[in-house]
Symmetry: C2
Subunit: 208 residues, 2 copies
DNA sequence: TTTATGACCGAGCGATCGATCGGTCGGTCG
DNA sequence: CGACCGACCGATCGATCGCTCGGTCATAAA
């Protein structure tokens, strides 16, 4: 009944496992800088310095500052969607099980990829229209994944919320916000946060 | 003379009423610009232009770009706290009534003062340490107001959440996030949004 | 050995940044 | 009238911005 399972290395549950980021050093430098000072608050010299490169050295790998941001945000949204899809695919057939899986995936992602997730969500307005549109499309797809589950849960009588779409967005919102306050050295472990927020999220949609 | 009457003590429900903003034109210009492009993405020339002033004309009223941001954020947090306190003071004695009042206050504020609220929450990192600390203190006070209510609600048996503090933060999060998507021309009226989100927030804390 | 290529950098481009200088102008007061 | 003041502005400051030019250097295929 409960979805609590042990971490199994291998195929099953790989969406739960987060290794160190494999970002190229220039992207990693841009990510740290953007997370700290924001896109417009970060100079290309700052990124180059953090990457151990000169400014032309940085431009050898990326054609513009904007390209750094776009590369970061598309990478992060693709990974989130991929992991969520995997979690959903491995979950049981009931809306409750699928809800738990996707919410846990959302939570873990926003803890273990918190900087990427934070930058992506706060720097949307710094993206050029085309890139922003592509990003929003991926984000909406992620949202609709949860929307559909909640809707089906209500139809199946597993969730009792009167406002499925709003509740679904509220759940996404609280999961995304984890990226803005979670810190690995904080008092709560990722597993404990998953436990708590999963319980809260279930209440939010009125799970029986 | 000042004809302000929406903050007169004893005016029951005045925390629900939002007139047009009374911000000086320079601050209003800065607010619009910051909301659209962010603090670092906005030049002092852009603010001056929107305010119908020259750059030195703008500096005649505010000593620095940072002062514009600080003035905006302190104003907005003070108004939020003032309205929330008023809502709480006028609410009934039970945690449920107080919860509803404060959540409704939070929701209305983040709809009718959405630009101010949005800028304040997104541009925290652009504030100098001292100003940021003062802002965070006010924000924490607002958070603790709801924390206390939820805690008392659990103690009184009115709320059933196992994680009062986390649920309280989740509720605040979803209310604050309203500022980032609400639009007056949207399909939902403020009253309808209050109705829906109040129901969702009650579920989140496990209200009976 | 020659040529080609990817990885990088010192120097500097034009533009724009936040901020300031020395004013002008209309009003108020004695 | 003349002294003063708040409100405002054209011009410009030094610094920094994103970005680029013309290279060097190590490696490797031809």
């Amino acid at each position: 009944m409960d979805t609590r399972e042990d971490l199994v290395p291998g195929d099953t549950g790989s969406w739960r496992h987060y290794g160190a980021t494999t970002l190229p050093k220039a992207l990693a430098a841009a990510l740290d800088a953007f997370a700290e000072r924001g896109y417009d608050g970060t100079s290309i010299r700052e990124v180059a310095s953090r990457a151990g490169l000169s400014v032309p050295g940085l431009y050898h790998h990326y054609p513009s500052k904007q390209a750094l941001l776009v590369s970061l945000t598309t990478t992060v949204m693709r990974e989130l969607l991929e992991r969520s899809r995997q979690a959903l695919a491995e979950a049981g057939p009931t809306p409750s099980e699928q809800f738990d899986a996707v919410v846990e995936s959302l939570l873990r992602f926003h803890m273990f990829r918190r900087n990427q997730a934070f930058v992506a969500s706060t720097e949307m307005r710094s993206m050029e229209p085309a890139s922003r549109a592509a990003f929003v499309a991926l984000r909406d797809e992620q949202q609709r994944m949860l929307d559909r589950i909640v809707e089906e849960g209500v139809a199946a009588g597993e969730f009792s919320t009167r406002y499925p779409e709003d509740a679904s967005r509220a759940v996404t919102t609280m999961c995304v916000a984890v990226a803005s306050w979670y810190h690995p050295d904080g008092p709560l472990s990722p597993d404990e946060i998953v436990t708590r927020y999963l319980a809260i999220a279930r209440c939010t949609v009125g799970a029986r």
